[in-house]
């Protein structure tokens, strides 16, 4: 009996600790999001979206150039990484499932997905910024594209592999060449999965800071093109938060609010889409 009691006691202690860990996790999420929402929301107003930054001490101003910069660079990165990553994912799913080349590529893609993004920043600095003697929006967009590429490739691969073999066989049995089958049938049935994967990749890249620090740099001015240093929300957030000015801290919380809410909204939205899709099929 004492042995049973002891076993039961150990059990309840471990179960309590495990539940406490879960509650602590949820508590931290609420705490961080609460702070970001509370302090960030106070900084958000029409000026935030429509005015250029002001020097420290001057009231008002906004981050319109940084918002546009982030959108531009993320957009260009998406345009580069999505076709590239989809092609590469197609190879991995359709032709490279079990051969050595495919396995090596899959391994390298997995490493690149988790590789430190600051190293990508250093790499792009060395191949683009240093030779051209110019920090630029292009360089920032390309580092973001390099970070996005393996993510898009791996999700495309996973989504294509989810397409049932019968669908492929049906298309091939009708006499369709492999490439036509892939484009007209496989892509179509995997499209919503790939789209969600791409959206998650975009959301992830939109919150990246490290690869932009020495590629896009930052700028307090309105941009005249992507060949010059380009303001972006994350680097502005970093510079403002590290500055000694209260006004800038407030702006930084506003930027954090905008980034976090966008990223979370995309994440929640894609989950909802996936869930409703799972129900109907």
């Amino acid at each position: 009996m004492t042995r049973l009691t002891r076993r039961k006691l150990t059990n309840s202690i471990v179960l309590t600790l495990s539940s406490l860990a879960a509650v602590a996790g949820l508590f931290m999420l609420t705490w961080i999001l609460g702070d970001v929402a509370w302090k960030g929301f106070a900084a958000i107003n029409w000026d935030f979206f429509s005015k250029l930054p002001t020097p420290p001490g001057v009231k008002g101003g906004g981050l319109v150039n940084a918002i546009v910069g982030t959108l531009l660079m993320t957009g260009v990165a998406t345009c580069i990484a999505v076709p590239f990553g989809m092609m590469s994912g197609t190879y991995l799913a359709e032709f490279g499932k079990n051969n050595k080349f495919g396995n090596v590529l899959r391994f390298l893609a997995d490493i690149l997905v988790s590789a430190p993004s600051i190293v990508i920043g250093v790499f792009v600095y060395l191949i683009l910024v240093k030779p051209m003697h110019q920090f630029s929006g292009w360089a920032g967009a390309i580092s973001l594209a390099i970070i996005m590429l393996p993510v898009v490739s791996r999700t495309t691969e996973e989504m294509l592999l989810l397409v049932p073999a019968e669908i492929r066989e049906a298309a091939l049995a009708l006499g369709s060449p492999y490439w036509k089958m892939t484009i007209n049938v496989i892509y179509r049935s995997a499209s919503s999965g790939i789209l969600t994967g791409v959206m998650l990749a975009v959301a992830r890249v939109a919150g990246e800071t490290a690869p932009l620090l020495f590629t896009a740099l930052n700028s307090p001015y309105w941009m005249h093109g992507m060949n010059e240093p380009m303001a972006n929300l994350t680097v502005v957030l970093f510079n403002y938060a590290m500055s000694p000015y209260d006004d800038w801290h407030r702006m930084a919380w506003g930027a954090a609010f905008l980034i976090t809410m966008t990223v979370l909204a995309v994440n929640i939205f894609t989950r909802m889409v996936l869930r409703t899709k799972g129900r109907t099929s």
């Binding site: 999420l29 390298l108 988790s114 620090l213």
Partner: protein
């Protein structure tokens, strides 16, 4: 006959085209290694292997060593794992085995959302919220209770190795716990039911069935979290304090490889200075390469075990 020919050509072209895009990933990977290696030459030639063991970082005298950033990276990662592993496994266990069914999906989503928050937000929160709390309450408390240890001595500044490790902990908990939960969910139901049928308590089933069955996957999850922690830049740069000295105290400010790069890269003016920073980047890339390879190795082994 002619139709058959075009069909084969079309497929060959399609295969070749996708293969060339796919090899782009390998090209980028190799290019990163080569470019970093090539551009670290001035520093490699000047300092050689002693770069890794030299504690000085002096732009004025052009004397650079990587020991302090390397130690800072490893120490902050080690502490973060120390805190994060038990908490993450607790969360994974809760999500996979304990929570009532209606709670599992929303709770799991909440933990995954923590992973989606950009790391810079964690860093900023660490600087403005956690740092002051550490300075005012946690560090004075640790000093009065454990102050006889050199680890918990020195002024309570709020910013330093301990705070950086805590922010890192928060960042990697969602990564480790969501992978570990998936690993726990892979344990076949009959195995667990058999153990319950023999009269095992939940903890005994976890200890004797689920953890042994999923140990490869759990190892993979931990290495994955470790890879993240090693290369994490923004969450650390805000709160680590950016100082070049080694100290036994966890309260004292330090530096990691990533935070050194973030702070100094655009300011580096000399050739040797810049190439020393690039060599630091190379060292970081190589360390994470090893850790992430181990992560992939264990995660794949655990998937092979499932099939």
């Amino acid at each position: 006959m002619k139709m058959k020919q075009t069909k084969i050509w079309g497929d060959l072209i399609f295969r070749g085209l996708t293969a060339s895009f796919a090899s782009g990933i390998a090209v980028i990977f190799v290019a990163i290694l080569l470019v970093l290696w090539n551009q670290s030459q001035p520093s490699l030639e000047k300092f050689g292997f002693s770069f890794l063991f030299n504690t000085s970082w002096n732009p004025v005298k052009d004397n650079f060593g990587a020991l302090i950033p390397i130690v800072g990276t490893l120490l902050s990662t080690f502490l973060a794992l120390l805190f994060a592993i038990p908490i993450s496994l607790g969360i994974a266990l809760f999500l996979a085995e304990l929570a009532p069914h209606w709670l599992r999906a929303p709770f799991g989503t909440a933990i995954e959302l923590l992973a989606a928050i950009p790391s810079i937000v964690y860093g900023m929160w660490g600087l403005f919220v956690l740092g002051p709390l550490m300075a005012d309450y946690v560090q004075p408390f640790l000093k009065t209770t454990l102050g006889f240890l050199p680890l918990f001595s020195g002024p309570s500044m709020g910013i330093g190795m301990l705070t950086a490790s805590l922010v890192l902990t928060l960042m990697i908990i969602p990564f480790i716990s969501s992978v570990a939960r998936d690993v726990f969910l892979m344990v076949p139901q009959p195995l667990k039911e058999a153990a319950y049928g023999l009269g095992g308590t939940t903890w005994e089933v976890v200890r004797d069935i689920m953890i042994p069955y999923g140990r490869k996957g759990i190892a993979g999850a931990i290495f994955l979290g470790m890879g993240r922690a090693l290369g994490e830049t923004m969450a650390v740069t805000f709160v680590i304090g950016n100082a070049y000295h080694l100290s036994w105290s966890l309260f004292s400010p330090g530096n990691s490889i990533a935070s050194t790069l973030a702070n100094e890269f655009t300011e580096a003016d000399g050739t040797v200075y810049l190439s020393s920073l690039i060599e630091l980047g190379l060292v970081l890339f190589l360390i994470t390469l090893i850790i992430l390879s181990l992560a992939q190795y264990w995660l794949r082994r655990s998937q092979a075990g499932r099939a």
